[in-house]
Assembly symmetry: C2
Homo-oligomer: 592 residues x 2
């Protein structure tokens, strides 16, 4: 426990004590508001006196306190600033500055950032960038050390290779706040030495070791906890939530899978009490959602709308989060704590009027008071598409005729192996009408060929989609039927230095450049959100799928090879849980 | 956060993962029990598999797990071991070994010990003894660094003098787990440099800084929190509880003031939820209570009887406590946590059948499995009564006649100043019929004379009581009317090398030797408890007071000069809050 060093300054504490007792003025006095006490769930009229970054006093309104600056909060609720316990800035495709500009006016004051995507593209150069950017914004961004770079070693290649030694070295830094979500569940359970070494580095650091326990149940869930993993946000339903709470995991209820939230909220209501181990996180927020719905404030809002008691939603986002990330300076409107505050005009709508961080008014009326500096993007992150021009031939599956037996991937999100015997024409396997192609090419300089898979149950496509955003290795990933469309989209992404593209009729229909590591835009969020939504709409017109948003999201996660089931990576068709790696989907060819 | 080092052994974690997955046997498998989940408040049938000091698995009963040792817990509830967040072993007047023998079979597995009394008698030699003894018992005793040695510098003298530098030096040790209750409230609020330096040493250590916020309200309570103090156990009622919860204090609800518990329990019930900042502590337990009622188990039992929901009482004693003392290894029956367990035959009666610490069965059926070693008591602690033989003259108040104006102390526990004009005979001030004498002499080698005060509202005395246990400086303290009785009792304590004594008719009626620092007995608890109760009964026959127990307890606390109001110390009559120190109670003499 203990407070961060900046709050242990004896002059600061001495001045706070004096101000609390009316012997010296506050730096800032917030008057007329109603304090939301996250400990007792009670609301009370109280003024809040601030000295430097500290709350010095929370007292009944009185006229006998002086202050250098006064803020009238009449009619507003004073809550602790919101704490996002797990997120990736990169998922919003914006710079850190733009991310802060979007969420700080909405009351988010702290976010634990796993710069997993930057690290998987640019290795330690990506971390350097993340840590430097985190210090440039009026938001308490707490970088964690990515633990899965790549997330399935031996089954994929990314732009980084974080060994246990590298993880340990970074975890020893004061500006790295823990080990980020460990997704390599199966290797850990099986005793893989690299993954065990990475977890050991986390345990040895004395900092939190975060997890990703997708689909783990029973003995495997016990084993994952026994290994020392603390957190999970990969819930699949109410039973999974309860099992993981009982197994002692800190839960990061996430907003990125809103279809689950009604069920999860109801499960908590049924418990009758909010467990102190329930926190909230955003995980991944698309740019247009970030602009229109917000960050962690949106998760609070949705949970309240789902029937979670209002105060519980706030407690999960504040006191619970602070405790579970080991920050006793945060999460309370109480003397001696850090003055990170959200002043709300409407509690259920989570309408924040003013945000205060470290005792400074940093945002009012939806705007940051001061725009954060935009530093130039370092060179290594601007040239991340290390591939040659892409041609249509790259998307063919080559085999000997007249027929070939092909391994296929069925069902988006929860993939299963399939098999088809297909005709071969001119050495190319025929793509059946009910299937599409998925293709991945390493873009991190490995010099590997395009890998191609045939997918079932992915809707009807009249065009192609290419992306350099593709979890977790962010290799160039392309979906479509027609090799010409796929090549057009893929090459557009290459030329843009990374990004998203849609093509049909052999021509590019939309491109969204993401020149920072092929993940993030340099454009302002409002432009980016517009272009992102437009590109998605373009794709929606070319693809028939249900429901649109989830399947569009599934495109970015289709290559998440660390999860259970068969997937395509830059090395081929793989199944990490089963230990399978096939360079080609052709199981047998030259069949009659 | 993070786990303690012993749980970060990679072989241990690896074996735990394998055992959880059925690939290697557990060291211990507890079958047939019902697990009490402190996160969800739910009970469920589950077997608990233990590997070394770790819980490896909590799973549905199944036959397919092997184990080296099996424990049948059919019909029992498996709860986390109980955590006492604030206590003084010395208050039970027993050795650490006897304390462990008393409480471990009752389910107490961890206790945060402030060896404040040993330190105030024997300085750092007292700490050395405490830390060494703590390591010799099958109980996780976590010594804290006493912060108030003495507790009112300048107003009393004890056997130690802990400057900020000494506090900082000890806090840097791995076997010192935080800064213990800071009782010097007023000096801290007034900016006293010594007290601020001690708090600073606590903050700088990054370890918890505990408090004692007796009677603090409003601006002073805000100031105490703003100074960085985290905890309080000095509650005076429901309003005080709520104010301190709202001010962010971790509450250590204590059993030593049971008359308050019904009101405090009701206040929590009225909140509708148990705040996660509520923990339980014993603080001070008399020997006979320790023997017959127990330690922290008694606090749980009383709170349940007071109407606190059963699961809340357990959660306060386990998960809440673990979180607030920064021990994520404790407080849960969950995989990856430490196997500190209490197996209960009756939940509401807190009847513990088996206690497990670090995965070892340490107590069953009310007995430790192995008696802890009794190390010899170091020499400095055996010769703590550094005073000459006491004579009746020492208890006189000397003045010039015919009358003198005397400052008196009114009301036990919440003392106030009084004043009387009294006749003087042969140079001695006449003690009025409605008053008694209180006298204190430094026993730590300061060579000071006996200080004498006249007390009002302390009942009717026909004898005297002397004690070397007298908070917080533990100087020789004597109560009575007749100087001959007082001298007899005081000298009996001196001759015993410290202890308690009762005298009447000029003769000693009962003596309880406490030869370890004048605080603790070398006798077994059962003998000590009997003798203690007998001595109290002897005193009860000589004194008419209401209610007996609380006033007897008030004798030990009458000299607690760090609290508000006038008190007697070895330096004279003092009032720390008002800055008063008078060597004599004679305000004016030679009056006509």
């Amino acid at each position: 426990m203990g407070f961060p060093d900046d709050l242990n300054d004896p002059q600061l504490r001495g001045r706070a004590v004096q101000a609390a007792r009316g012997q010296t003025p506050f730096d800032l006095l917030i008057t007329g508001g109603i304090v939301l006490d996250m400990v007792t769930s009670q609301f009370r009229r109280a003024d809040v006196g601030v000295v430097g970054p500290l709350i010095a006093s929370v007292h009944e309104p009185a006229d006998d306190f002086a202050a250098t600056q006064t803020l009238d909060a009449t009619g507003q609720v004073i809550a602790p600033g919101f704490i996002d316990t797990h997120m990736h800035v990169e998922s919003s495709m914006v710079t850190v500055a733009d991310y802060a500009e979007a969420v700080v006016p909405r009351g988010v004051t702290t976010a634990r950032w796993d710069p997993h995507e930057l690290a998987n593209v640019a290795g330690t150069a990506g971390l350097d960038y993340a840590v430097a950017e985190a210090q440039n914004v009026p938001l308490r961004l707490l970088p964690l050390m990515p633990t899965c770079v790549p997330s399935a070693p031996g089954y994929e290649q990314s732009g980084g290779d974080f060994t246990p030694a590298i993880v340990a070295q970074w975890l020893s830094r004061d500006d790295i706040h823990g080990a980020a979500e460990l997704m390599t569940m199966q290797p850990l359970l099986e005793g893989d030495s690299r993954v065990r070494g990475i977890v050991q580095a986390g345990l040895d650091s004395g900092k939190p070791v975060c997890g990703h326990a997708r689909g783990l149940v029973g003995a495997d869930l016990n084993g994952f906890a026994a290994a020392g993993i603390e957190t999970d946000h990969e819930l699949t339903g109410a039973a999974d939530l309860l099992a993981k709470l009982s197994a002692g995991f800190t839960i990061e209820l996430r907003g990125s899978h809103p279809h689950l939230l009604p069920e999860l909220a109801q499960a908590l209501v049924d418990l009758g009490e909010l467990p102190q181990t329930v926190t909230l996180c955003t995980d991944d927020v698309f740019p247009d959602d970030l602009l229109t719905k917000g960050g962690l404030d949106a998760v609070i809002r949705v949970l309240i709308a789902c029937g979670l008691p209002t105060v519980w939603a706030y407690r999960a986002a504040t006191l619970n989060a602070a405790t579970r990330i080991g920050r006793m300076d945060l999460g309370l409107v109480a003397p001696g704590r850090r003055a990170d505050l959200a002043l709300l005009g409407d509690l259920d709508q989570v309408r924040v009027e003013t945000t205060i961080i470290d005792g400074q008014i940093v945002a009012q009326d939806g705007q940051l008071c001061q725009a954060p500096p935009r530093a130039p993007v370092p060179e290594p992150l601007r040239h991340s598409m290390k591939i040659a021009p892409v041609t249509p031939e790259a998307f063919e599956v080559w085999a000997r005729g007249p027929n070939a037996r092909i391994a296929t991937l069925c069902k988006p999100r929860f993939p299963q192996w399939g098999e088809r015997i297909l005709p071969v024409r001119d050495g190319r396997v025929d793509l059946p009408d009910d299937m599409i192609r998925m293709a991945i090419q390493n873009r991190h300089g490995a010099g590997l060929p395009m890998r191609v898979a045939f997918l079932e149950d992915w809707g009807t496509w009249r065009g192609a989609f290419a992306s350099s955003v593709s979890h977790d290795s962010h290799n160039l990933t392309v979906f479509g039927r027609d090799p010409a469309d796929m090549a057009a989209a893929a090459d557009a992404v290459r030329k843009a230095g990374g990004g998203l593209a849609v093509a049909s009729g052999g021509a590019v229909q939309a491109v969204l450049p993401l020149p920072i590591a092929g993940l993030m835009s340099t454009a302002p969020l409002s432009d980016l959100a517009h272009d992102f939504a437009a590109l998605r709409a373009t794709l929606d017109r070319l693809v028939d799928w249900e429901p649109p948003l989830l399947v569009f999201k599934a495109l970015f996660g289709a290559s998440l090879v660390c999860n259970a089931g068969p997937r395509l990576s830059d090395l081929g068709l793989v199944d990490v849980f089963e230990g399978i790696l096939r360079e080609s989907c052709v199981l047998e060819d030259g069949l009659s």
